[in-house]
Amino acid sequence: MKILICVKQVPDMESRFKPDNAGVWFSDTDLAFRMNEYDEYAVEQAVQLREQLGDAADLTVLSIGPDRIVEALKKALAMGCDRAVHIQDPAAALKDPWQIAAIIAAFAKDKGFDLIFTGLQSQDRGSAQVGVTVAERLGFACTTTLVGFAFADGVITAKRELEGGVKGVVKLRTPALVTCQLGLNVPRYPTLPNIMKSKKKELVTIPVADLLHEEALAVTARFYPPAKKGGGIVLEGDVGDMAEKLIAILKEKTNVLR
């Protein structure tokens, strides 16, 4: 069973974001990058499926971006993927979801993948489009927002998370693509021996121009911080002083402290 996992490298969301020179995305300077959290669940689910199927499964992890994203690929290899594909694109952040999906589909189309895992969305862009669009381009069955996954006799049983805590259960046959929601599993930390082993695994680099033949369908005109609504009180400084101030505010504005 050939499995593809698509991952993205994103900045730590605790970072302060500053617009780049063109004002259409964030400046990379001073940011720490990591694997998109949703994608960690995708990698973990693929690795668990390989533990179930043994050598019958083959795991390729793919990412698109500048050279720094190799770190995210290495993490996926250390978690248990067999090989990595780096689609080299210094300008990946300027591409729209349609183009990103086109690149992935162009890579996957003649490789005979049975199953593709992606995150539900990225933490930085959050469009939730790429996975579904890849499936649509490849003609794969597709379902999204997985919080449960099982595979038996060629059939995937997927549990989708719906609003209000309700779940929807879906069965689908391969070839299929599923997008993973937070909480699907517990992503493992790579162990030192597995990190060492992963250094010997194959990492292929492909220039993006070999795969991309689509124009963008949407453009970002501006990237900016939200307008501050104001009104809220901000407390800073000594912890003890702030606690006193907060208690005084709560006594004045609420009736919960008597």
Partner: protein, 303 residues
């Protein structure tokens, strides 16, 4: 300008979020048409064209077939925009429709701004203005971003039928887990977020909840990590609460969490990150490490 609005129907009910589509369309201006895979017994009061397919035949979750129904309505109406709610139904279905039409999709729209659409990014800390370059565009709107509206009137029903399903079978629904804690009745909720650091620190937050006579709440990452039971989760996939006081400890304020607690009368946020989105809706933002500040506050409250 014309917008085709895609209503949502689940477990035999037209979802209230569908009415937010009308609120969005009112801001957009122009004509509208509606599409619903649902039941004739539950149609919104709306005086325009309504494309109706029977959920009993088409299934409530059968995205490939729903896509075909939407494409039929698009062919008849030729709308400029096809609009969904950004929900487990909308984000699953919209990209399929957009791909077939080769139309731009803009996800989770929160506003209209100079010729484009405003969307959140970077965990709601930043914004983008996105402009489609295609004549037709697919949009999903953020739940709660636009006011619900009841347009009134009687729809002109046009029935749609389609077959298909791309090898997918919907088995059924699983109800939400039974709630051993009813946060909806709590007057005070003190919630733990990822900033708490580890499971062993959750009692620090629970102690403040006790001192204030309230209940312990939690954000999604804390529940996913297994630090706190799901029954304490506040947000879109947990409980929606409106206490007199909500204290968010180390919670950045993802939109799914804000949707569950923004109706609280008074909101206190404790966060190291002064720019965290929770600060936007907090009445008081305490810029501090949760593990330093919360014990100090608990001691003073208990005194």
């Amino acid at each position: 300008m014309k917008a085709l609005l895609i209503c949502e129907y689940r477990e035999g009910k037209l979802l209230d979020s569908s009415f937010e589509l009308f609120g969005f369309a009112a801001q957009l201006g122009g004509e509208t048409a509606l599409l619903l895979v649902g039941a004739e017994a539950q149609l919104p009061a709306y005086g325009g064209p309504l494309y109706l397919a029977d959920a009993a035949e088409c299934g409530e979750y059968n995205p490939d077939l729903h896509k075909q129904l939407i494409l039929q309505a698009v062919a008849k109406e030729n709308p400029d925009y096809i609009v969904f709610v950004h929900s487990s139904y909308g984000w699953d279905l919209a990209p399929r429709v957009a791909a077939r039409l080769k139309a731009a999709q803009v996800s989770e729209v929160i506003g209209l701004t100079d010729g484009g659409f405003e969307v959140g990014c970077c965990n709601a800390k930043m914004r983008r203005t996105v402009k489609p370059t295609t004549a037709q565009a697919v949009l999903t709107i953020q739940a709660g971003a636009f006011p619900a509206q009841q347009p009134g009137g009687t729809p002109q029903i046009q029935r749609l039928v389609a077959e298909g399903g791309n090898g997918m079978e919907f088995v059924g629904y699983e109800p939400a887990e039974a709630k051993d804690v009813d946060l909806t009745r709590a007057e005070v909720i003190v919630s733990a977020g990822r900033g708490v650091g580890k499971k062993e620190n959750v009692p620090v937050i629970a102690a403040l909840a006790r001192a204030l006579g309230g209940e312990l709440g939690a954000s999604r990452p804390v529940v996913d990590a297994g630090w706190v039971e799901h029954s304490h989760q506040v947000g879109t996939t947990g409980q929606t609460v409106s206490p007199k006081l909500y204290v968010a400890c180390g919670i950045s304020g993802a939109i799914q969490h804000l949707a569950g607690m923004k109706k609280a009368d008074f909101i206190v946020a404790i966060n190291k990150d002064k720019d965290a989105p929770i600060g936007e809706i907090a009445d008081v933002l305490v810029v501090a490490d949760v593990l330093q500040f919360v014990p100090a506050l608990t001691a003073k409250v208990a005194r």
